[in-house]
């Protein structure tokens, strides 16, 4: 279907993370932060959060990593790198490896991936309600500084994402890198912009009408029912608000990048290529300050036998993870895990190579790489393999907590919020900020 014609209003273009409606324009920050481009444009400062842009990339590989090869055996700053971490040795001082952490009461095996950035308890229970994810919490607060408040991305799974709104509703992830790229960097023609603004206004008038109806209906119902209509009403107003902000962004030019649009990869077996394409996009988005919060769900569970150069993978990713201690499967899993490490090293390289305001982009970008599973073979949801890189912390250490009685992972989220310049001391089931993690 031709996207241009897909709807008379609003959904005329596929949104990044399919969220068409962008928070806008508190500040004139629509243009790239690239040093090379800065001189031509005045930079409006607006509050401390805008002064030094901070960013986050939250990654969940929902089958995790082999714990025996990931976790170092010694702790502290002098820890001996594990086989996997050897592959990141060039960046030893750019990351902290953390063991013995998990989300309190987040259990249930595979379904726990949707709680990875929310820490909402018991995701597999029948009465489960998810809560807001870290990136959305951030986007609500500083999303208006950028064209896109957040990006929700996935590899091999448009059905499962990491981003959840405050209402506990999933934001469907975008898994086509080329589509995201177009949204980020492709200019619309003036006619398209006018048409888009007309559509946005039409959308707002529709929303106005139905909001009025919801208000009228609220008068006649009891308290519990009213709460449902109120939620509807709030959602409508929220959407209207976003339409307004989106409208403000429409006339501002998008950043120009020299990077070519990524190829469309549809074959789920090309998992690693897809991951790399998403990493590239994340770096470009941060580099152009198009957004400051990105989530990436690597749906390894829904991935067939991965195509790897110079290696033969015979089983689907999920089946390999249920290796049952069989050597053959463990060996193949290791190949996949090592690829993850290599791609991360490349991402760190790329972010370190970009300079912004005299700092490495890596030092302004927090990268959380982890999983909802500590050991996929047993579906265990404790002792999650956790790597935390960049963002301006004193890294180069192994924070080792009790691997049986875990330390709360949400504490890391609190540290991240604080690094964003937000005055917060609580996220989900946190008990404070991450012990042993200091800002640089």
């Amino acid at each position: 279907m031709n996207e241009k014609f897909s709807a008379p209003f609003i959904a005329a273009r596929r949104a990044v993370s399919r969220r068409r409606f962008l928070r806008g324009a508190g500040v004139a920050m629509s243009l790239p932060f690239l040093d090379a481009m800065l001189p031509g444009f005045a930079r409006a400062a607006s509050g401390s959060a805008a002064a030094t842009p901070r960013r986050m990339l939250g990654i969940c590989n929902n089958l995790g990593l082999r714990p025996d090869l990931f976790f170092p055996t010694s702790a502290g700053r002098d820890y001996v790198a594990s086989p996997y971490l050897e592959l990141l040795s060039a960046h030893r001082n750019d990351f902290t490896v953390i063991s013995g952490v998990s989300h309190p009461n987040v259990d249930g095996g595979h379904p726990a991936d949707i709680s990875f950035l929310t820490a909402a308890p018991h995701p597999a229970s029948s009465s489960f309600r998810n809560t807001i994810s870290l990136d959305q919490h951030i986007a609500e607060r500083i999303g208006n500084f950028t064209r896109f408040p957040s990006l929700t991305l996935a590899v091999n799974g448009a059905a499962r994402g990491l981003s959840w709104t405050g209402a506990g509703v999933a934001i469907p992830p975008e898994e086509r890198a080329s589509e995201v790229f177009n949204q980020l960097f492709l200019q619309g023609t003036p006619d398209e912009v006018d048409a888009q603004i007309h559509r946005l206004d039409t959308g707002r008038s529709i929303l106005d009408a139905v909001a009025d109806q919801a208000k009228d209906l609220q008068r006649d119902v009891g308290a519990r029912d009213r709460s449902r209509l109120e939620q509807y009403f709030t959602s409508v107003r929220d959407l209207e608000h976003r339409l307004q902000e989106s409208r403000d962004w429409e006339r501002k030019p998008k950043p120009v990048v020299s990077f070519a649009a990524p190829p469309e990869i549809t074959n789920p077996a090309q998992y690693m290529d897809k991951v790399k394409a998403m990493y590239d996009l994340a770096r470009l988005s941060f580099e152009t300050d198009s957004t400051r919060a990105i989530t990436l769900m690597m749906n390894s569970v829904g991935t067939p036998a991965v195509t790897i150069p110079d290696a033969t993978i015979t089983d689907s990713y999920h089946n390999l993870s249920h290796h049952g201690k069989a050597e053959e499967k463990l060996a193949q899993l290791k190949v996949l895990d090592e690829w993850h490490m290599k791609l991360l090293a490349k991402l760190f390289d790329d972010l370190a190579a970009v300079s912004e305001g005299g700092e490495r982009l890596l030092d302004r970008t927090m990268i959380l790489y982890g999983s909802n599973l500590g050991d996929a073979n047993a579906h265990s949801t404790i002792n999650l393999p956790t790597l935390f890189a960049g963002g301006g912390f004193r890294h180069g250490q192994h924070l080792a907590f009790d691997r049986a009685q875990n330390y709360p992972l949400p504490n890391l989220f609190v540290s991240m919020l604080q690094r964003f310049g937000l005055e917060e001391d609580k996220f989900a089931s946190s008990t404070g900020a991450m012990r042993g993690l200091e800002m640089a």
Partner: protein, 918 residues
């Protein structure tokens, strides 16, 4: 009322101490006896009989010393219900305790708890109803749009965010949230569905039959390998009367000739497990609607010994292929023989980014024509492919990507002659969706330079037909593009108001206030004034209607439902959609609540084909059928099941058809546990070891007397869903069966319990691993209920196949070659023998699953009760609550004379207070 009022402070005290905190709270707040709940009576009771174990959280995760009464808090309320249940069932205090309450003490305690819980729930019901207001879920929204706009092919569900679940179903307002994302998706989905309705009326072609010959659709260049690549199993080859045509294949004879045209076929020995399949016939549905698809072809047998891979040497004119040695598992396409078996051929409808299976046909060794009728959306194309021949399956050789069923004697393949598509079939209602939107107003293409317009999908006709086998030749390539249309009105204001009034009444399921008409007319006026044209301005107003609370919310008032609300609830229950005109008419006349009328309407809805939506939606959640693809069988130890689509689809069909039959024929609920029939096709019958079932079509089969099948828990679907693809766990399976089929809820294990780490090396069985677990008395309380069914089902593997021994992988043991049930060679290693014996919590022992089922079904009431509970939760969005228990028993009592027939249970649920009050 908020929790603070009901929330009585905890009885903080030491064992045997005075209830000071409670007394203080009573004095301070001045709570009346009705509001203070059961805390006073229970404080003494707890002190005396429960404190040894349940103070300061010593046992069972329940610390009575800090238990408050806060019924607004759902967990707190559930705790009190559990306390009530365990005490009144005599399970607590435990029998071994010396000091036991007197009957009088017991009665006082349970009466007090019951009275408080009942009073609270009754108050809530009176004030708010049992259910809280909810929106339509994504299944219902899709069906509602399909029915309203007559666009049964429209794919709406997947455009909406996943729905929340509560009480196992997607039917409760507590979990059906609305967010800005949801709103955005409603806007998009409503717009899409309306444009589908318009598209069905635009350029509607006459019914026509189009016959596409395989030799035309598939260029002969597919007969020959491409450079450095194509493995021979991916190639196609010419077949005539079940034999090869080497001359044609080599390009020395024409691809087709008039004398043999009708008998010519194109063969293949492999299929592709993805949406980039072969045999795309170059047909795209020119308009949405119903089509008849006929496919002619047959199965063939192809010799092995083909070329493994082609390589080329030299440059330019010198370039020539260099052949490698032939290998047995590659096809030799110059040696074709009549088929040795039947081959199921899947038929798929494809559009950008999605493939959906629409039918299966059997190819036999003799040419035959298969026929199906399907709904297609505009632009959808047809693909056909063999279902057993996925080349990515492992077949036990070192070589990958071969025909998985290849043997030293050759391999099965298939040959297609032609595809014939007739349609869109005559349909008097084809344009009824358009007529609802625009009445008799004419639609035309938008003029050049004209503003506004509504874009519709449209198939452009074939530009040119490439010469057969010519360079660059390929299949037809019709493409889907957009065309903008406008609807002409001579009196836009009047037409808009007239059409909108009619539309809102249809959408809102009942009479509508004039103010609502004006509200949405305002949207039209605004848009029309901006120059968007009539059609787009109307769609703007209609979109408003379809995303408004009046459409997406289910409107019910506390107390007894009025007829309009009753009609909606009935339709959402039995059709998973909104009421049709006939049901609405009954409601508008105010007679639906009359028992005779309600009964007749229930019958009518159940008899309508749309009731299949109920069967599918209900089993999707009750039995988790929607999760059938969540895991796939391990390609290491269960590679006989790898990519076995026919088996998986048949397993799904079996369960749905079985439940539909229980409902249709009003068969007793005990069939859920054990039954003398099921639905099978050849593949599934093979899987179950039941002889005499041929072909891909599912049919009702009476099971052999001693069969272990029959009933839900021994169905492949359920057994697959309750396993993880590699191992089975008696605990996880047992827990699932206990909850879903036997109706006993058990609580999750305490967080400190470590999950059993599955071991598939074959040295230890899961039962041995679990033994330690079960020896712990606090674990045993629940495990004695959950594990028996799990143990009984240990004789079924991850796909529901029967097993006597586990399968395992082990490096130090040489794998033995085996044979999969589908004839596919593979290798695995046998582990330890399976032990499927166990005993029920009451001590009755069973030896295997057959005995287990016999013991369970001896009392069919709990089975019926569980089904009724699931139906109530699905139909009303609320589970059977504490105060609903009596009403549930009434439902059962009324159904008892019909042996708890499934249809009777559904009817009795509809008749019940639970269904007829909010």
């Amino acid at each position: 009322m908020v929790g603070a009022v009901h929330g009585i402070p905890p009885l903080r005290r030491s064992r045997g101490g005075a209830v000071l905190a409670f007394a203080a709270a009573t004095l301070l707040c001045g709570v009346s006896p009705a509001e203070e709940g059961p805390t006073k009576v229970s404080a003494q009771f707890f002190d005396q009989y429960c404190s040894d174990c349940h103070y300061e959280d010593k046992s069972g995760g329940l610390d009575l010393s800090v238990l408050t009464y806060d019924p607004d808090n759902r967990d707190n309320f559930a705790t009190w219900v559990r306390v009530f249940d365990r005490v009144s069932a005599g399970e607590m205090p435990p029998k071994k305790k010396k000091e036991r309450p007197t009957p009088a003490d017991l009665a006082t305690f349970t009466r007090s708890v019951s009275a408080s819980l009942t009073a609270f729930e009754k108050e809530v019901t009176a004030r708010d109803g049992r259910a809280i207001q909810r929106r339509l879920n994504r299944y219902e929204y899709e069906n509602a749009l399909r029915d309203l706009l007559n666009v049964p092919w429209a794919q709406v569900k997947d455009k909406l965010p996943l729905d929340g679940e509560a009480y196992r179903f997607n039917k409760s307002g507590e979990a059906l949230d609305v967010s800005f994302v949801q709103m955005e998706r409603y806007l998009t989905a409503a717009d899409y569905a309306m444009r589908q309705a318009m598209s069905a009326a635009f350029e509607r072609p006459e019914q026509s039959a189009r016959k596409i010959y395989a030799r035309d659709a598939i260029g002969s260049q597919r007969y020959r390998p491409s450079e450095n690549g194509t493995l021979s199993d991916r190639l196609m080859f010419p077949v005539l009367d079940s034999h090869a045509q080497p001359e044609v294949r080599a390009g020395r004879a024409p691809n087709t000739s008039p004398e043999t045209r009708e008998r010519e076929a194109v063969g293949k020995v492999s299929s592709i497990f993805s949406d980039s399949g072969q045999y795309g016939w170059g047909f795209n549905a020119p308009a949405a609607g119903r089509y008849r698809i006929r496919l002619k072809g047959y199965s063939v047998w192809v010799s092995g010994g083909g070329i493994g891979r082609w390589f080329y040497e030299g440059q330019g004119a010198e370039k020539a292929p260099v052949y490698w040695l032939p290998v047995w598992h590659r096809p030799n396409a110059d040696e074709i023989w009549p088929g040795r078996n039947d081959e199921p051929i899947g038929v798929y409808a494809q559009s950008s980014g999605q493939t959906r299976p629409i039918g299966v046909m059997d190819f036999t060794p003799r040419p035959a024509v298969g026929e199906i009728e399907v709904q297609l959306a505009v632009g959808e194309s047809i693909r056909t492919d063999a279902m057993r021949l996925f080349r990515t399956r492992v077949n036990g050789t070192d070589e990958q990507y071969v025909n998985p069923l290849a043997t030293k004697e050759g391999m099965p393949g298939y040959a297609v002659q032609w595809l014939e598509v007739t349609g869109p079939l005559e349909d008097a209602h084809a344009t009824s969706g358009y007529r609802l939107l625009f009445g008799d107003l004419p639609m035309r293409r938008l003029g050049a330079g004209e503003k506004g317009g509504v874009p519709l999908d449209r198939v452009t006709s074939v530009v040119s037909l490439p010469a057969f086998g010519g360079p660059g030749g390929g299949p037809f390539r019709p493409s889907v593009t957009n065309v903008a249309v406008e609807v002409d009105s001579k009196a836009p204001q009047q037409d808009a108001e007239r059409l909108l009034r009619h539309f809102i009444q249809a959408a809102y399921r009942g009479p509508v206030d004039e103010s609502e008409i004006q509200r949405f007319l305002g949207l039209f006026n605004r848009e029309f004034a901006l120059g968007s044209g009539f059609a787009r301005s109307m769609l703007t107003a209609y979109t408003g209607v379809l995303v408004s609370p009046g459409f997406v919310f289910v409107e019910e008032q506390p107390g007894r439902l009025d007829d309009r609300a009753l009609a909606t609830r009935l339709a959402l229950f039995l059709w998973n959609s909104t009421p049709d005109a006939a049901l609405r008419a009954r409601a508008e006349k105010g007679e639906l609540h009359e028992p005779e009328v309600l009964r007749a309407e229930t019958e009518r809805l159940l008899d309508d084909p749309k009731s299949r939506r109920f069967v599918d939606a209900f089993t999707d959640y009750w039995l988790d059928l929607r999760k059938i693809d969540d895991t796939s069988p391990s390609a290491t130890i269960y590679n006989d099941y790898e990519l076995d689509e026919p088996l998986k689809l048949a397993a799904l069909d079996e369960t749905q058809l079985f439940f539909a039959e229980l409902l249709r024929a009003n068969l007793p609920a005990r069939n859920v546990v054990t039954s003398d029939f099921t639905y099978l096709n050849e593949r599934l019958a093979n899987h179950y070891g039941i002889p005499g079932v041929k072909g891909a079509k599912m049919r009702r089969v009476t099971l052999p007397r001693d069969s272990e099948r029959g009933g839900l828990m021994t169905m492949a679907s359920v057994l697959k869903i309750t396993a993880n693809g590699t191992t089975t766990s008696p605990v996880l399976r047992g827990h699932w069966i206990t909850e879903r089929i036997l109706g006993i809820e058990t609580r999750p294990p305490p967080p400190t319990v470590k999950a059993v780490d599955p071991d598939i090396r074959g040295a230890v069985t899961i039962r041995q691993q679990l033994a330690k677990h079960r020896d712990n008395p606090s674990c045993a309380a629940c495990h004695s209920k959950m594990d028996p069914s799990g143990f009984a089902l240990e004789s079924f593997d991850v796909m529901g196949g029967h097993r006597d021994r586990y399968r395992a992988v082990a490096e130090d043991v040489k794998p033995e070659a085996g044979f999969g049930l589908n004839g596919q060679a593979f290798a695995f290693h046998y582990g330890l023998p399976v032990d499927s014996a166990g005993e029920l919590p009451d001590g009755r022992a069973f030896h295997d699953i057959k005995e287990f089922k016999r013991l369970i079904v001896r009392d069919e009431v709990p089975v019926a009760r569980n089904l009724a509970r699931q139906l109530v939760a699905f139909a009303t969005g609320v589970p059977v609550r504490f105060t609903d228990r009596a009403e549930l028993e009434k439902i059962l009592q009324h159904a008892s004379s019909r042996q708890y027939g499934v249809r009777t249970l559904v009817e009795e649920v509809v008749r019940s207070e639970l269904f007829q009050t909010k």
